[in-house]
């Protein structure tokens, strides 16, 4: 698809801005996200093309304004639902539980 | 003089517009009455009813239609319409063989004198992106299905020519006068995302 991800040649995105001595992960959640993705991928639930396609299908503004591991989060949720590993309702219940747990 | 932090604009867009307006008025760069006159002109006076009259005239008068298709700007001016964003007009005709669709993929170019200001959807990403790559799917979303043996022509307004579609006259309207015909014509049919329904 000619999605927003297909950025080759695009102007207007600004300077590259590399971070000096960038850590592997910028937050604990990124570390967890990485691990979850790797574990599910290794178990063969989806392939890399399916995963990439989920990212490419993000709403373009969201693609541009969310970080790399947020893309992974979006796409893993998407692909797991598509593969019937859980449904949206179960995911939403998990969100509620976690939020309640945080508040407790 | 103390340095102050870079002031951020108000997060309320209405306040930000008001700030710009007050500054421009204060510097004498715009006049208050002018602003009111512009609003009156484009919110109330100019609109798709103009284009509907052009279409109705073309349906009713074959000589006018010929003039309109040959050199649209003076023909449209015969009805008293013209001006900004319509100085160089082109009218394209829908027939049993050709269906025309208008878009400006790069921004929002639109024939103001005959249609007024464009709707949000025309200026937004989904239409601008998809009208050229899948015009038939776009038309279907608008409820219009074009047969395979009809050519869909998409006009992308890249220059300063401004386009309008002359929709096909619906069957069963032979006895209608120009005013009645104009009442049938809606804005979407002049962009090419709708067909004109009969009375």
């Amino acid at each position: 698809m000619d999605g927003i991800h297909d950025l080759g040649g695009m102007h207007g995105l600004g300077p590259v801005n590399p971070e000096s001595d960038e850590p592997v992960f910028h937050a604990e959640w990124e570390r967890r996200m990485f691990a979850v993705l790797m574990a599910t991928f290794a178990s063969g639930i989806y392939n890399v093309d399916e995963f990439r396609h989920a990212t490419e299908n993000m709403a373009p503004a969201d693609y541009l304004t969310t970080s790399y591991y947020e893309h992974w989060l979006h796409s893993l949720e998407q692909v797991m639902i598509e593969k019937g590993q859980f449904d949206r309702a179960e995911l939403e219940a998990a969100w509620s539980n976690v939020t309640a747990g945080e508040a407790a | 003089m103390a340095d102050h932090d870079h002031t951020e604009p108000p997060s309320d867009t209405a306040l930000r517009v008001k700030a710009l307006e007050s500054l421009l008025l204060e510097k004498g760069l715009v006049e208050a009455d002018t602003l009111d006159a512009l609003i009156q002109l484009y919110e109330h006076n100019i609109g798709p009813q103009n284009g509907a009259k052009v279409v109705a005239r073309a349906w009713s008068d074959p000589d006018y239609k010929a003039r309109l298709l040959a050199d649209a700007t003076p023909a449209i001016a015969e009805l008293g319409f013209g001006g900004v964003q319509g100085e160089d007009m082109v009218v394209v005709e829908n027939t049993s063989e050709v269906h025309n669709l208008l878009v400006c993929t790069l921004c929002s170019c639109y024939p103001w004198p005959v249609l007024g200001l464009p709707p949000v959807w025309y200026k937004a990403a989904p239409y601008r992106a998809r009208a050229v790559s899948e015009p038939r799917a776009v038309l279907k979303e608008f409820g219009v299905e074009i047969r395979d043996d009809v050519e869909v022509r998409v006009w992308d307004s890249t220059a300063e020519l401004r386009y309008m579609v002359l929709p096909e006259r619906p069957a069963g309207t032979e006895g209608l006068g120009e005013d009645e015909l104009a009442a049938l014509v809606n804005r979407d049919s002049v962009i090419g995302v709708a067909l004109v329904e009969g009375a």
Binding site: M1, G3, G9, M10, H11, G12, E56, M58, A59, P60, A61, T65 | P9, T13, L15, V17, K18, A19, L20, S22, L23, K27, L29, V30, T34, D36, A37, L38, I39, Y42, E43, G82, G83, V84, G86, D88, T105, L106, C107, L117, P119, V120, W121, A124, A125, P126, R128, A129, S133, E141, F142, E151, V152, R153, V154, W155, D156, T158, A159, E160
Partner: protein, 234 residues
């Protein structure tokens, strides 16, 4: 520029979602914004080409997230500052007091139009004459056309960093000249304060299959206006 605005053919934007009986303006600030922009335009403070380039140059995420009249607002502030009509400090002074209902009169340089060549505000009684006449982009210059109706052309693969009206989805594509519209100013130079570079503009026909490949309907086509400088003979 190969900006986010150049969206012809892009996927991922979802349904069109037209609003039924959409009003001309969705809020009073939009109405005011339209009037401000148009009045300043008529007073010659900027041309269409340079304003379009300002909008195209917005950060892509902002371009996608902000509304149409928000683009006009933010770019108009920037363009007028760039043109020396006022300074950012003038705006900031008003913003700092933005909570107050009537915030006029707080600009640092009250009263004095600055400017490289003072622009005359358009008087209200000129609105109808000026706007019902408009100003054609045609240029009265004796420039020879490079092409004529029926000629086969290839749209150039130009990728300027500045303003252009040659969309990416058509670059390198083969087409046919349908009609010569005559001589117009050239946006790629006019957007940057340069010459009009008058040249012929043509209506060019491209087949849908040429542009999108074999999956496109065989009969369908594009009709797109292109300047001489966008085209090579095929």
């Amino acid at each position: 520029m190969n900006g986010i605005h150049d969206m012809g053919g892009m996927h991922g934007f979802g349904p069109i979602n037209p609003e039924i009986d959409e009003p001309v303006f969705h809020a009073d600030w939009e109405r005011r914004m339209f009037a401000l922009w148009t009045a300043a335009f008529a007073a010659g403070m900027y041309n269409d080409n340079e304003f379009r380039f300002a909008v195209e140059s917005r950060p892509p995420a902002d371009y996608l997230n902000d509304s149409y009249y928000e683009h006009w607002l933010i770019c108009m502030e920037q363009v007028l500052i760039n043109k020396g009509q006022f300074e950012r400090a003038d705006l900031e002074a008003i913003w700092a007091n933005a909570g107050n209902a009537a915030s006029a009169g707080n600009a640092a340089s009250a009263g004095a139009p600055s400017v490289e060549g003072a622009k005359q505000a358009l008087p209200a009684d000129q609105v109808i004459p000026v706007f019902m006449t408009g100003a054609s982009a045609r240029v009265d210059a004796d420039v020879a056309p490079k092409f004529k109706a029926g000629d086969a052309i290839i749209a150039r693969n130009l990728n300027p960093a500045g303003h252009t009206r040659l969309p990416r989805y058509l670059r390198g594509k083969h087409g046919t000249i349908e009609k010569d519209h005559g001589v117009f100013g050239y946006p790629d130079t006019m957007a940057h304060g340069d010459d009009e570079t008058p040249q012929h503009v043509y209506c060019v026909r491209f087949s849908a299959r040429e542009v999108w490949g074999e999956s496109a309907p065989s009969r369908d086509s594009f009709y797109v206006d292109m300047w001489d400088d966008y085209l090579d003979p095929a």
